[in-house]
Point group: C2
Chain length 198, copies 2
């Protein structure tokens, strides 16, 4: 790798970090490339060299989020209780890193529109998250650890939606919302076994 | 009431309706008074006569939402199963009126910021919604209809957050999200009695 290439990579990473921070504070629509350039300590022209459009920069922010998720998923946990515990740990990580949740919640609400550049990303993200959790609930159903009569797909939808809804409410009034308590309650009522054996 | 007064009220209502529609499509930050005036079929100056600032118009949209809620709450249902059934019916109403959900979900995500003009509104809205539902779960705990060991406040937070999270996911991918099925599943696992007796 040439020195120039490396410098370019570092610059690009700085811009993506600055963009993630600005989207987390103001959303995508209300943010400008000019403001992101300022935050990254680069000229507007310098930013445009790396990311010619707002959409290109948003795509890079979402790609990085996916790359981080992929690193976590290399843990390769087999479907079952451990996956649910892993998602709880992820939620605990998120409430200590408000920026991640801010970015996700704001973009998710904007991306409702079919013409938003992150719409396809979120549609895929929801489907993959539901599929992954549903697989675990199905495994638990086979071992009798899921409450009889509970549909694994509906349980997965419920878990993902609850996580999303808790995040917005927690971001608005952090001291009044027990994110982890609520997720544990929901999981514990869906299971026939304790989530964390004594 | 003079004719002029009445005309003014109707004009004002038209503007608030147009604003609610535009916020639902684009959010508050990305919308302009100019665009809302156009949608309401009024000049920009005419709109400014009724609402001199973006914030004043947002306040009017939220006030109307509250007034509509107040009308519903005049039903005066005593705390208990009927309140939960009422919220399910409300969710069923919402999935038939996408605009209501759009407006609410977009504003809620923007209002995370403490400096957003709707921040105080959402903080109060969440608290009141949690209190109202918690009262019902407490009544159900007293009659043994809430699962033993379930904290009524945590159950209320869970129900409200689930409703909010489901709405964003449903708005993004309507055909893949069973809002009512998920809410019923969540309530049924929290209760010791059927939500709808056969």
């Amino acid at each position: 790798m040439s020195e120039g290439y490396l410098k370019g990579r570092i610059r690009r990473d700085d811009i993506v970090s600055a963009a993630a921070a600005v989207y987390g504070e103001a959303g995508y629509h209300a943010s400008s490339l000019r403001e992101i350039a300022k935050r990254a300590g680069i000229t507007h022209a310098g930013l445009l060299y790396h990311f010619p459009t707002k959409e290109a920069l948003l795509a890079a922010v979402l790609e990085r989020r996916d790359a981080e998720d992929a690193v976590r998923e290399q843990l390769n946990i087999p479907p079952g209780l451990d996956v649910l515990r892993h998602f709880l740990a992820l939620a605990e990580h998120n409430v200590r890193h408000r920026g991640i949740v801010d970015l996700y919640s704001r973009l998710a609400a904007e991306a409702i529109s079919e013409d938003h550049p992150a719409h396809a990303y979120f549609a895929r993200h929801y489907r993959e998250a539901r599929d992954s959790i549903a697989q675990s609930f199905r495994a638990l159903a086979e071992t009798g650890e899921l409450r009889p009569g509970v549909d694994p797909d509906l349980a997965a939808l419920t878990f993902i939606a609850l996580m999303d809804g808790l995040q917005v409410q927690w971001l608005t009034t952090p001291t009044q919302v027990d994110v982890i308590g609520s997720l544990r309650l929901s999981l514990e009522t869906l299971l026939t076994v304790p989530l964390f054996p004594e």
